[in-house]
Amino acid sequence: MKQRADDTLETPITSMIDIVFQLIIFFVVTASIDKDVQDEAIHLAQAKSAPAVETVDPRSVTINLRKDGEINIALMPMSPQQLYNFLVSMRTKGGNSIPILIRCDAKTKYKDIDKVMQATAKAGLFRVRIVAMLDE
């Protein structure tokens, strides 16, 4: 009499569930809220020869300036006066060495950039940098 043993290959799933939970825990623990929210509507001007940024000062304040002149910080719109008040409060907390990063669209008019620079100078902050995209 012939006996047939039907061997059904089954993949053990229980270990895989453990791995999936490990991955979930890893991503939950390492996720961080990005405080410098980038405005996707801004297309930066290109810089052909400037070096890439190595480290960014964590105290830096990023001011987004759209091509229509709208100022926002972390997607929160601001008027020049509100920007000035905000910068004064940042200066009070962190001193006058706080770097200011101006992310402006390539088509932003200089008169709008000038308003932002005037506000930063008036607030006593002089470490201003214009953010540009590297030419690849």
Binding site: L9, T11, P12, S15, M16, I19, L23, F26, L44, A45, Q46, A47, K48, S49, A50, P51, A52, V53, E54, L65, L101, C104, D105, A106, K107, T108, K109, Y110, K111, I113, D114, M117, T120, A121, F126, R127, V128, R129, I130, V131, A132, M133, L134, E136
Partner: protein, 131 residues
């Protein structure tokens, strides 16, 4: 009677899944964000210091207009201005560059001027508005 033994070759998949997960974890841990931005420094004139810096000797004037750059009052091609700035930079790296920007210029014009100064190694920049 001849018995036929049909052997089915089955590849063990469970170990392969472990290897896939290992590779996944390796690439997640070693992933680095590619830096695609440059920060061009702009020195704003401190209140009351504007006049003093204008009278400072060994100062280079760079004017920025929409689509046009002028160096020491003369309009030149971007490449020519770049070469001239490099030559100035080689002579004196501490030379002050007064970047005068017209109100109707665009950010891309300002970035081009700052980029050329950065390429020439000229770090003493003062950005002022051309009125």
């Amino acid at each position: 009677m001849r018995k036929k033994n049909i052997e089915t070759l089955a590849v063990p998949m469970s170990s392969m899944i472990d290897v896939v997960f290992q590779l996944l974890i390796y690439f997640i841990v070693t992933q680095r964000e590619e830096v695609t931005e440059a920060h061009l420094a702009v020195n704003l004139p401190a209140p009351g210091a504007a006049k003093a810096s204008e009278n400072k000797p060994k100062m280079l004037e760079l004017e920025v207009h929409p689509g046009v750059l002028l160096i020491q009052g003369a309009q030149r091609d971007v490449n020519e201005i770049g070469d001239m700035l490099v030559a100035f930079g080689q002579r004196d790296k501490d030379m002050t560059v007064m970047v005068k920007v017209a109100m109707d210029s665009f950010a891309t014009d300002l970035v081009t001027a700052l980029d050329l100064c950065d390429k020439a190694g000229l770090k003493n920049l003062n950005v002022v508005t051309l009125r």
